[in-house]
């Protein structure tokens, strides 16, 4: 019981921290886009890279929706492995994205953070959804 008392709030906090920093990047993405362009870049090149980053951020928000749905509906709230995975993924994502903002990393590094820290937990969440609602297994 005490384990769940610690893991569930920790998972919620890291999820929300990751969400907050993704929303922040929506406003501060110009530095990152400029970092991955050459010194003399044209308007079209800037818009192309900017659009790519916006697409990545939007897909991240969509995956957040999936994870939050799974978390709040109780499908994965009490599942230890999914909690641990989600905790680790969103914690590393928050740290990496804060470096992304402060150190002005290039915009293509966002795809790596997206792949490891947004796609994998959301995929596991979807698998749990299918297992609980489709295959009628117990959530934990």
């Amino acid at each position: 019981m005490t384990v769940i008392n610690s893991i569930v709030p920790a998972r919620f906090l890291t999820l929300i921290a990751h969400l907050v920093i993704v929303i922040t990047i929506f406003w501060s993405r110009s530095n990152n886009v400029q970092a991955c362009l050459p010194l003399d870049f044209s308007e079209e090149e800037y818009n192309t890279e900017d659009t790519r980053l916006v697409v990545a951020l939007s897909v991240t928000l969509g995956l957040f929706g999936v994870e939050l749905a799974g978390f709040f509906s109780g499908v994965s709230m009490f599942n230890h492995s999914q909690s641990l995975l989600s905790l680790a993924a969103h914690c590393s994502a928050s740290i990496c994205l804060s470096f992304f903002v402060f150190q002005k990393w290039e915009c293509w590094t966002y795809w790596f953070i997206f792949a490891f820290c947004s796609v994998i937990p959301a995929l596991c969440e979807l698998i749990l959804f299918i297992a609980v609602f489709g295959l009628k297994k117990k959530p934990f």
């Binding site: 005490t2 384990v3 893991i7 230890h80 492995s81 909690s83 641990l84 680790a88 590393s92």
Partner: protein, 309 residues
């Protein structure tokens, strides 16, 4: 009587599992997250691999007692000259003036290395001759021993010209090393142990200052005189010689070199381990929490000595 803790020792609990379990996967991920991020942190914060370092040494400098002196005696190209090379003096003809030279090399702090050179040169002139410019070239041998052993022949070139004829030139400065590339950390470096002027050559081109300085500046290690402008005193008496007074100090030199393999590894290891300790502590706490509270299923084995009844 009061009850207090007299002694304590940790009791070890081992957690066992088979290879294809979630606990093994967790362990592998934690292993990667413990040992790889400190390397990234240490590398990305710059300065992981030491590329260049410095050390200080006072070099062994000895004056080689080879001098080449040229002075312009008019504004139309007349000159007088002298050197310690017989072939050059033969080529001068009537422009040769033989000065009296007095040189002292002193070791001021008695450490076996010379610290200062004092050179006084008196150039006799005809009463109607005046000196308008002086070009002086002195040769030295330069040796370093602490890291790589460097033995080379170097020169100091002093030049001053004035529109007013002078009676004395006073130069005081330090003999400094100029490196284009850092020195290696060990080994013998005698590529420049060649005399800067070829004294055996009978041709005038061997004593052409332009060619000498041009060849000298091709080297990666050179010396130069670092000093404020030479002092030109005017008003020579008609029977007095032209005096050149040079004081050259041999100071402690800060030399840059490329560190060797073990020095680089030592500093990289220090940086890596100091960050690794933090990550080890953090993941130790996380692993204790996960395995003690059975977040991932494992088999705990307590080491308890059974008391026989």
């Amino acid at each position: 009587m009061a009850f207090y803790e007299v002694y304590s020792h940790p009791a070890l609990i081992r957690y066992k599992t088979s290879v294809c379990t979630k606990a093994t996967l967790f362990f592998v991920i934690v292993l990667c997250l413990t040992y790889i991020p400190p390397l990234l942190v240490a590398y990305r914060s710059q300065g992981f691999w030491l590329k260049r370092s410095t050390y200080e040494e006072q070099p062994h400098i000895r004056f080689q007692y080879q001098i080449l002196l040229t002075g312009a005696t008019s504004t139309t190209g007349d000159y007088v000259a002298w050197s310690t090379y017989h072939n050059f003096n033969h080529l001068l003809g009537s422009n040769l003036r033989i000065p009296s030279v007095s040189v002292q090399e002193e070791d001021l702090n008695q450490d076996g290395k010379f610290d200062r050179l004092s050179l006084q040169l008196e150039l006799p002139l005809k009463p109607e001759e005046q000196i308008y410019s002086i070009q002086l070239l002195l040769t030295f041998s330069y040796q370093l021993f602490r890291m790589s052993t460097v033995v080379m022949q170097t020169l100091v070139y002093v030049q001053h010209s004035s529109s007013v004829p002078g009676s004395q030139l006073f130069v005081s400065g330090d003999l400094r090393l100029y490196q284009r590339i850092p020195l290696p950390h060990r080994g013998l470096h005698t590529a420049y142990n060649v005399s800067v002027i070829d004294g055996t050559s009978p041709f005038a081109s061997a004593y052409d200052l332009v060619k000498i300085i041009q060849a000298y500046q091709e080297r990666n290690l050179t010396t130069y005189l670092s000093c404020p402008s030479p002092l030109w005193t005017v008003g020579r008496a008609s029977d007095a010689p032209f005096r050149i007074n040079a004081e050259i100090h041999y100071p402690l030199e800060i030399i840059s070199y490329r560190p060797g393999f073990w020095e680089t590894i030592k500093f990289a290891w220090i940086q890596y381990v100091s960050v690794l300790l933090i990550f080890l502590w953090v993941f130790h706490r996380i692993q204790t929490f996960v395995f003690q509270n059975q977040v991932l299923p494992t088999v705990p084995i307590h080491q308890v000595k059974e008391h026989r009844p």
